[in-house]
């Protein structure tokens, strides 16, 4: 039903656009002076980019930046196919990515989170593996009170899942989840609602939610606290790199904006969102 409605809307918008273009002539002529930059991809990076681009557009009235989410895979595909100037990809470059250029803007850790009432404060990588593989099913086996563990994991294709799999060495099929969720916010809401659960989300999202009063707790991993500092100095190992990607030659406006991401202003925004800006 929803799909049908969406498709109808799209068709409608498309028809309306082509009709107006036909009647009023191409609309592009009017906006020749304004430069448009389209950036698509990871929903982890998008909030940071939105904030940075808002400030940027105020100081550069001729530039218009559109940020759209849709996941790292989309960001990569869009940049490759030149459907956007730049993509947002929240994982490091792989060999199959070919000639696409990756510019790292920040690092983000994945925090292992449990409900606030859970007495546990530290978890080892081995325990984490056993829990997600299903060989440990009760909290008392890892030193907390006796209760069935609710394993919260992410849907196939999400970059947080891929980072988690790469770190633990588990395969997607090996994971025995009780709940599968989509984005970080949903994971946090689920862990809040189910006291026996364990999940993993972006440290940035976890800390921001916690400051807003979410009833979650970030566990230490192998004795290392999940903080932006520990991600930055490399002590906290469950982390990923946040990248801006593009293919081929960038236009002037995009180049300027990409350089701006390295400015102290932009880095302050990145830090405020609890990510760790990449050293210049």
């Amino acid at each position: 039903m929803k799909l049908a409605v969406l498709a109808t809307l799209f068709t409608g918008v498309f028809l309306a656009q082509s009709a107006s273009a036909w009647i009023f002539g191409s609309s592009e002529k009017n906006t020749e002076e304004a430069q448009r930059i389209r950036i698509t991809g990871s929903s982890t990076i998008a909030p940071v980019m939105l904030e940075i681009s808002d400030a940027y557009m105020r100081s550069h009235p001729n530039t218009r930046i559109d940020i759209e989410t849709g996941g790292s895979s989309r960001g990569l595909a869009d940049a490759k196919m030149k459907r956007s100037q730049m993509g947002m990809v929240s994982r490091a470059k792989r060999t199959e990515d070919g000639s696409v250029v990756f510019a790292e803007i920040a690092k983000d850790g994945l925090a292992v989170i449990v409900h606030k009432s859970n007495p546990l404060s530290n978890i080892s990588t081995d325990q984490l593996k056993s829990i997600y593989r299903g060989s440990v099913q009760n909290w008392n086996e890892v030193g907390a009170k006796s209760e069935q563990i609710t394993v919260v994991s992410k849907a196939d294709g999400r970059s947080t899942l891929e980072v988690f799999l790469a770190y633990t060495g588990l395969k997607s099929k090996e994971i025995q989840p009780d709940v599968i969720i989509g984005d970080n916010q949903q994971a946090i809401k689920t862990v809040e609602s189910v006291p026996s659960s364990i999940g993993y989300v972006s440290i940035g999202s976890a800390i921001v939610s916690q400051e807003k009063g979410a009833r979650i707790k970030l566990l230490q991993l192998d004795g290392v606290s999940a903080t932006p500092e520990n991600v930055g100095n490399g002590h906290y190992k469950l982390s990923r790199s946040l990248n801006i990607v593009y293919s081929g030659e960038l236009d002037e406006a995009s180049k300027k904006f990409l350089n701006h991401l390295n400015s102290s202003e932009a880095r302050a925004v990145i830090r405020r969102m609890s990510f760790v800006p990449t050293p210049q």
Partner: protein
């Protein structure tokens, strides 16, 4: 048959407004077939329909768990919301004092306007912990059923009430003057008379239930396995698309279009089936 020229001209005036709707529906079907074809080629058509697991990264693409989840949740929700809705509509239309009826129907209209994501969040923070006390973790078929039933209820009440409202005044007066007890009049006359309308409300709600996405995605746990009992997690066909589409590439993406295609086929079948059944019902009444 002869028609004046102006009338025939009207036909051509109105026709263009119909064409986009028809083209859109056909377009969606064609689009879904084209997009899901690579997955059919890669995995084989039957691998979507034999019982198994959904793990596109691991080359398993059985849609059976999602089909079962979608149907179980939608049917259970209807079983709850239809009787409740009919009784509520009956109360508003036949039994409640006018001011109560007005207040209630305004409230019902209001609940119909609540966006589904709000139902979802409410379900996640309130209902899930409650169900979790009976059987952890609480994200389950039964939670989804209750949330869905609540979402369907308002429109069912409104539709059935309208049906009751159209019951001819003379029929009402006749039942009063015949000295029928109000409840007897309701159960023996008004209810059977609204059979067709109730069936319509049920079909429309079933269609909505099959397509509901976000609220269910938040409360059902989304594990793609066949549910063992009402406390098992389910994943619906729509949640499958919503969870993975933004992140899928290649055959994985194409396999998701296959779940969209399957959903379209199911919804279309339900709608056509209800037309056939509805037609039979109408004939039997005459």
């Amino acid at each position: 048959m002869f028609r004046p020229l102006s009338e025939r001209a009207l036909f051509f005036v109105f026709l263009p407004f119909l064409i986009p709707a028809v083209i859109t529906v056909i377009g969606i079907f064609v689009f879904l077939v084209v997009e899901s074809y690579p997955a059919v080629q890669h995995f084989g058509l039957m691998s979507f329909f034999k019982p198994g697991a959904w793990s596109p990264a691991g080359s398993e693409v059985s849609l059976v768990p999602m089909l079962a989840g979608t149907f179980a949740c939608s049917l259970f929700a209807l079983v709850i919301s239809i009787p409740l809705g009919v009784m509520a509509a009956g109360y508003i239309e036949f039994f409640a004092p006018p001011w109560v009826a007005t207040t209630l129907s305004r409230l019902v209209e209001l609940t119909a306007a609540i966006p589904s994501v709000v139902y979802g969040v409410w379900g996640l923070v309130t209902l899930v912990p409650l169900v979790g006390k009976v059987s952890a973790p609480g994200t389950s078929l039964v939670t989804g059923t209750v949330v869905l039933a609540m979402m369907l209820l308002p429109t069912i009440v409104m539709q059935v009430r309208l049906e009751f409202f159209h019951t001819s005044r003379s029929l009402r007066r006749a039942s009063v003057s015949a000295g029928l007890h109000p409840f007897a009049a309701f159960s023996k006359i008004h209810l059977p008379n609204a059979k067709q309308g109730i069936a319509n409300a049920a079909t429309l709600s079933f269609g909505r239930a099959l397509g509901e996405t976000i609220a269910l995605m938040m409360v059902t746990g989304n594990v793609p396995v066949l549910p063992e009992n009402v406390f098992s997690s389910i994943r619906t066909l729509t949640a499958n698309i919503a969870l993975e589409m933004g992140y899928a590439l290649g055959e994985h993406r194409s396999a998701l279009f296959m779940s969209g295609f399957l959903l379209m086929v199911v919804v279309t079948t339900v709608m056509i089936g209800s037309q056939v059944v509805g037609g039979a019902l109408r004939r039997s009444q005459k």
